[in-house]
């Protein structure tokens, strides 16, 4: 690893950690309805929304009602987003006159954005109208993020409260998270991104005259659009030339900001955050990475504050940081080492004052190895899935890291809200294991962990591996699934495994060579995304409800402290054990085989 790579990591972690306490505290105030500056400005709007919706903000819900409201709201979101896409041709703000995407693609996209996955099987700049992007996709970027936050807050309430049935009011929680947290932060980030060159307009696409005309060849087709073949059966190539370049336009910055802040990851353009209009400079890259971890990191403090012991939050954050650094280091080291096959061909991959060197296939020069690998790590330990480099072209171990990040359940910072609640579920499992070892009733934050919590925790944790591995197994067993792989051999298997891991964890990044815009993948991945999102959410809300109803047991000599190094080690151990044991066989068939092949002579 270069000094620059370490320096970037240090700057990144310092900036993120500086925001943890102030933002965490602010989140706690806002979500608990305490007086705060944003509510003084936005209070009228908040009350207007409650009046329109017929919501009594004082009426709280039990966990079942909370879960039903959440599922209903998100299901309506899918229906609306599906309709918007299918009707976009007839709706305004479609300057390029894009037709509707196919039904299976529209369905996949609708589920994808509502579940905070933002897996994209389409090419946005030639598919989605401005209206679909801003009033459809971007709205779900906000609302899926708010959904994540409120589930985390509900679980925190379950731990913080005692002897009550209610865990909050879903409508109020979603409104506050959106209005006071996501919207103002997104606005600030959007303008910061515009200052760097991210576009924000409603123009039609612009035609530029190239400085040097370009000649290129493409397969010739007959009148029916079928490719022409020569006598040897090879496609006939026709040579064309063009003097223009089309520059895509659109309201990008407003969507880019919430795409990162809400750990969504759905690009305005196909190349996502690698596109210069989404991410034009090293500084915009830094802002986007920071936006990704901002709220997930701060929620650990919110948790500590609301349960009345900030050490509990710091312990969870410490476990996350300890996992983060080696993951980044491995990814960065592998990519900086480069591809030995390219060196053999005469390419210079050594880092110097004049170049970043390393494996630059699928990477942008302005980000280099450090900015690309830190982004890749940040986007996959959280549920973001935005990419500023193409993970498919990573070296085997470099690409192994994003895959492993997701397989660990996205608990290192994690998705917005999902990261914290998933980590707390691991904490519950951890204290249970510890309780078994020393023969005591396990407890966490003053709450007894009993059979019901353990059942729900097991469901929350095991759903993901179940659907990921089953889905991968189905896909490699049928022709429609195998047809999706773009690269030959072990790497092709990795593409399919990565696709299901990404969908099951609601990440949305891809080994993007995979051709997933087929009815088979659109349907099965939509199913995986939906189950991977809402099955654990219902289980977590059930835990929240059950914990809220329990009495608080006072700390005694027999209580295992859950803020010290022992607990942190236990938590990390639980995460690694579950993740590693579940996925090692699958990983051995993909990146590990490939690594052995790459470096063998």
């Amino acid at each position: 690893m270069t000094a620059q790579s370490w320096g970037l990591l240090a700057l990144f972690l310092a900036a993120a950690l500086l925001c943890v306490k102030p933002l965490g505290l602010y989140l706690a105030r806002v979500m608990e309805g305490e007086p705060n500056p944003a509510a003084r400005i936005g209070g009228h709007l908040e009350r207007l929304i409650y009046r329109l919706c017929g919501v009594d903000p004082g009426a709280e819900m039990g966990w079942k009602r909370y879960a039903i409201a959440l599922l209903l709201f998100n299901t309506l979101g899918v229906l609306l987003l599906y309709a918007l896409q299918r009707l976009q041709y007839w709706l305004p703000l479609n300057p390029e006159h894009f037709a509707a995407p196919s039904p299976d693609s529209a369905f996949n996209t609708a589920v994808s954005f509502v579940t905070n996955t933002n897996w994209q099987s389409y090419v946005p700049e030639t598919t989605m109208s401005y209206l679909t992007q801003m009033a459809g996709l971007a709205v779900q970027n906000f609302l899926s993020a708010a959904t994540g936050i409120v589930v985390a807050i509900a679980l925190i309430r379950g731990l913080a409260r005692h002897s009550v049935r209610a865990i909050g009011n879903f409508w109020v929680d979603v409104t506050r998270a959106t209005l006071y947290v996501l919207l103002p932060l997104a606005a600030v980030i959007a303008l910061a991104l515009v200052s760097q060159g991210v576009i924000q307009n409603f123009s039609t696409y612009r035609q530029a005259t190239l400085v040097q005309p370009v000649t290129y060849s493409q397969p010739a087709t007959d009148a029916a659009g079928k490719p022409l073949l020569d006598s040897a059966g090879q496609p006939v190539l026709s040579t064309l030339s063009t003097t223009t370049q089309t520059l895509p336009m659109g309201p990008v910055a407003s969507q880019e900001a919430i795409k990162e802040l809400g750990t969504n990851g759905g690009g305005f353009f196909n190349a996502n955050s690698a596109h210069p209009y989404e991410n034009p400079t090293a500084l915009s890259n830094f802002i986007e990475m920071l936006a990704i971890v901002l709220v997930p990191a701060a929620l650990t403090y919110t948790f500590g504050h609301l349960v009345g012991d900030t050490r509990q939050g710091w312990a969870v954050l410490a476990a996350m940081l300890i996992l983060f650094v080696p993951l980044y280091a491995l990814c960065n080291h592998s990519e900086q080492l480069g591809n030995p096959r390219l060196t053999a061909l005469g390419a210079d991959q050594a880092a110097s004052a004049l170049q970043s060197g390393g494996n630059m296939e699928g990477k942008e020069v302005r980000f280099g190895i450090a900015g690309s690998t830190l982004f890749a790590t940040a986007t996959t330990v959280t549920s973001t899935g935005a990419v500023d480099s193409m993970h498919d072209s990573y070296t085997p171990l470099g690409g192994f890291v994003p895959l492993l990040d997701m397989m660990l359940g996205e608990v290192v910072f994690g998705g917005i809200g999902t990261g914290l609640y998933s980590m707390l579920v691991f904490a519950i499992v951890g204290v249970f294991i510890a309780g078994l070892m020393i023969g005591r009733t396990p407890e966490y934050i003053g709450k007894k962990i009993e059979a019901f919590e353990m059942k729900m925790s097991s469901i929350a944790i095991l759903v993901m591996p179940f659907i990921v591995l089953t889905g991968t197994a189905v896909a490699v067993s049928v022709a429609a699934g195998r047809a999706g792989a773009d690269n030959p051999g072990a790497h092709g298997f990795s593409e399919i495994l990565y696709g299901f891991t990404s969908a099951g964890n609601n990440n949305g990044s891809a080994f993007a060579g995979i051709n997933a815009n087929t009815p088979f993948y659109n349907t099965i991945l939509a199913l995986v995304m939906w189950l991977g999102r809402f099955w654990p959410i219902v289980a977590v809300l059930a835990i929240a409800g059950s914990l809220a109803a329990k009495k608080r047991i006072p700390v005694s000599a027999g209580t295992m402290p859950t803020h010290g190094p022992t607990f942190i080690a236990l938590l990390i151990g639980t995460v690694l054990l579950v993740g590693a044991l579940t996925f090692v066989p699958a990983l051995a068939l993909g990146p590990i085989v490939e690594q052995l092949m790459l470096w063998s002579r």
Binding site: L45, F73, L76, A135, A187, G197, V214, A347, M390
Partner: protein, 190 residues
């Protein structure tokens, strides 16, 4: 349940108006006033004609110009409507064949130059629209460009140095140069 359905529908509608219409319009309005050039796409206009964007790379293959990075967009390189990387894995024979051909083309255009080729000059970028090449890749091409244009190598190297960027705060950004701007500066040289 019926009540809930009404609440959910109205809340969703309110959020669409607020987040999907008011928010992007507000950002567009502010951006247009505060950062008009950036919001419009950092466009380069010469003699009333749009010739590109400072941020979006263009293909160059003439020996008089600095070449850009390879682009995997289809059908033509640097197609603004198809931003994409190659997505070829590190062992894919297609990748190795492409890199081999690119190195051969660079060497054929500059027969005397036997230095190893900077990796970014023979690998496709992530977006297919990368506006930059590394400083190493620019200096690698300096001799060829100088010879074809009848300039001194020192002149061309000075031009590269004048356009060099990178290393804000010491760690942000890698050593690089914007190819379109560099080539426009070349054309402007007498």
């Amino acid at each position: 349940m019926k009540n809930m359905l009404r609440t959910a529908s109205v809340l969703l509608a309110a959020m669409v108006v607020l987040l999907g219409v008011a928010y992007p319009l507000l950002i567009t309005g502010v951006a247009r006033v505060v950062f008009p050039a950036q919001a419009a796409g950092s466009l380069i206009v010469r003699h009333g004609r749009l010739i590109g964007s400072r941020l979006i790379g263009q293909p160059f293959s003439d020996r008089r110009y600095f070449w850009s990075r390879p682009s995997a967009t289809a059908p033509q390189p640097y197609n603004g409507l198809d931003s994409t990387g190659s997505n070829l894995g590190p062992l894919n024979p297609a990748l190795l064949a492409q890199v081999h051909a690119r190195i051969a083309a660079l060497r054929a255009a500059d027969p005397g130059n036997t230095a190893p080729v900077p990796v970014d000059l023979v690998t496709a970028s992530a977006s297919g629209l990368d506006p930059d090449i590394s400083l190493a890749a620019a200096y690698y091409q300096a001799g060829r460009v100088a010879r074809v244009r009848g300039l001194r190598v020192a002149q061309v190297r000075a031009l590269i140095a004048a356009h060099a960027r990178g290393g804000s705060l010491g760690v942000l950004g890698d050593p690089r140069v914007n190819v379109l701007e560099l080539n426009l500066a070349l054309d402007a040289m007498k």
